[in-house]
Amino acid sequence: MYGGGYIFEEPNRVQQREEQLHDDPEKLAAFEMRIANGEKIEPGDWMPAEYRRQLIRLIEQHAHSEVIGALPEGTWITRAPGFKRKLALIAKVQDEIGHGQLLYNAAETLGKSREAMINDLLSGKSKYSNVFNYPAETWADVTVIGFLIDAAAIVNQVANAKGSYGPYCRALERICYEESFHLKQGHDAFIELATGTPGQKAMLQDALNRWWQPIMHFFGPPDKVSGHSEKLMQWKVKMASNDDMRNQFLEAYVPKIRELGLTLPDPLLNKNEETGRWEYSDPDWDLFFEVIKGNGPCNKERLDVRKWAEEHGRWIRKALMKEGTFEKKAMPVA
């Protein structure tokens, strides 16, 4: 589903910067010229070490976000009310795992294997979108995720699809296409509750109140404190600033939410007609960084599920790698 807007920093950045100094200046200039001309960079092309590193980090975090993002909604597949919702939810969660697969493949073209990425996820070295460290407490939470988190992710992904790295852009194009279906389903389920019985509406309002802060966190810290993006924007790794994406999201979705008679838990949330930009209370950024560190309500639970899957699947992966046992035809995926 979702590449959260924020690319988390890793600790060894200083050392990597040193390496970057050794990039051949002529090659670097030619590379930057290609990007300025709107060309796509492909896997075999020369690229600065820092560009490669940042892209791996970005795509890997996006892939992990898809795989971990399948979990909060996945737990509701068995409880979804009615055939229509049940089938739509399985299909959606399945798509998310599929997006993870596409993205791991895209990241692998930069030289890091899927196994290495998954190991880094499980060890906590590699991050994923914070928003998935919150629980989906009721069915209404599933509809809020399906509508608003997907919508936020689309804002981010549509921007990134115009980036400079070919394999990532192509994966994102396909992902955005599927996401637009998810958004429709999420919107439909959200409206059903918003226009339903008083009980359904109250359930939805509660969920919206719970999710508003994680949604405001979704695009990352404000531009004034999120300093490292200039080079990334020049290289078209990062395509829009956190504040711009957040503003774009608020512009498109706050009116839709309010039209349905729902409220948002921020008295300052308002569009400034003079500047044309949305104003809001600062969400708790200390909490945001605490959740990144692993102290959110569900960090442990999410990773424990992935660890279970890794441990219980080990014998199967081992058996698959066994040489000479495969039949010649390819393994069908149902």
């Binding site: 055939f83 697969q101 019985t197 149902a334």
Partner: protein, 251 residues
Amino acid sequence: MLLNQLIKELITKMGDDELIIGHRNSEWTGLGPIMEEDIAFSSMAQDKIGHSWALYRILHEELGGEDPDQFAFMRSEKEFKCCHLTEMPIGSYDFSLMRHFLFDHAETVRYNSMLQSSFLPLQQLARKVRGELKYHTLHADAWIIQLCRAGEESYLKMQTALDNCFQLACGIFEAGPDDKLLADEKVYPGEEALYGQWIENIYPVLVKASLNVPERKEPVYGGRYGKHTAYLQPLLNEMGEVFRLNPEATW
């Protein structure tokens, strides 16, 4: 029992099998041993749940049954007619894979037998479902053979899974109240005939995988008459948790 009632019973047990095994398969979403298997199990779960919806719609539209959502989400445990194989928890992947293999071959035999059914809605559904099932059994066969040829550890796991699943799987073919009448009326050939065809179909795959096929000694019956394992009620509670908050509302 009247023919219509027998057809209702037949479609109910088929739909319940599909719904419950679909529910179980969907529990693998996010937990699969590799991402490709996660996707495969989710995809098959969707198909199974889709088949149960189609079967309940036949009951509703052709045989005066309830609305499919009410039928699926509101019935009591005793009213369910699924076999015990489908009710068992997912366990580990070897168990779920073996169940998938045995169940999907049984399903294929069943729908194939209905391609000429005198009850037209079943005949039409069988034609549609057949294409999907081909991929389900291809998937199951390929994995069983691969895992059985990849060394002792995985081979032993698969043999144990087969031993654990086999009597339960034989329970799929528990005779209905009057299979002879359904066969005479050419609705379908009856459970014993399906069992024979099923053994004939799975045998070559199991031989290829060097697995020893157990004998049908104590098939696990009861599900078709509303007697279930302790695992079904909690599953139904979970499935209906949201729907039952307000069964009259639309969700």
